[in-house]
């Protein structure tokens, strides 16, 4: 909802970010704070995060689960 195109396509006046999910910086901070050497991603933009973490020296991979994108 921070992205204008998403609001426009749905015809919303305003978008508010209300989420119990971590955002990109939050996910990276958490990965760093745990010191995890291996990170498995179950859903969301797994591909981008996997690639980024691997480039940062963390062994990351996507893990196939039954999670949908809305969960």
């Amino acid at each position: 909802m921070r992205v204008r195109g998403d609001r426009r396509r749905r015809g919303y006046d305003r978008g508010f970010v209300i989420s119990d999910h971590a955002d990109w910086p939050g996910l990276l901070d958490t990965c760093r704070a745990t010191g995890a050497k291996q990170v498995l991603l179950t859903h969301g933009h797994s591909e981008a995060l996997t690639r980024y973490l691997n480039e940062q020296g963390v062994n990351a991979a996507a893990l196939e689960t039954a999670f949908g994108d809305e969960e």
């Binding site: 921070r2 992205v3 006046d13 981008a48």
Partner: protein, 148 residues
């Protein structure tokens, strides 16, 4: 430019044509003529001619943000607009919607348009500096607002 930024927000945060028109009427009634002329130019969808294009802005964004190029590309394809991608990727944690007090016409006539006639490194330095200042000023005014 604060007034123009507020106008943009007003137009962007409603789907009602009547409210958009009312916001524009309010703006154009009080805006100085030079600002109003540029506002009409921008709002009618025109762009500065012979000016720095999106490909250069994209390259500078990659350099200034320190993010990998593919990640900037990925962000762009998800956002769909280079200006918005730059705004989102350069925002700071404390940033709020606060624009600068420099009038719109001064921004364009005196700060942006002269960049047409300088070499690319100087263009880059100026634009990256402006983005950094915009992020900083948003942060500072957010701090001031928090103090009040």
């Amino acid at each position: 430019m604060r007034e123009f930024a507020d106008l943009y927000d007003e137009i962007d945060t409603t789907t009602s044509t009547n409210l958009k028109v009312a916001a524009m009427v309010r703006y154009f009634r009080s805006a100085p003529p030079a600002d109003a002329a540029w506002a009409a130019y921008i709002l009618s969808g025109r762009r500065l001619k012979r000016f720095i294009g999106p490909a250069l802005l994209r390259r500078w964004l990659v350099e200034a943000s320190g993010l990998p190029e593919w990640l900037v590309e990925e962000s762009y394809s998800s956002v769909g607009d280079m200006a918005e991608t730059i705004a989102l990727l350069t925002e700071t944690d404390a940033s709020q919607k606060t624009a600068t007090d420099v009038p719109l016409a001064e921004w364009i006539d005196e700060r942006l348009l002269p960049l047409r006639d300088v070499e690319e490194p100087a263009q880059r330095e100026a634009i990256v500096g402006m983005v950094a200042i915009a992020a900083l000023s948003r942060m500072l005014s957010a701090e001031q607002a928090a103090d009040r």
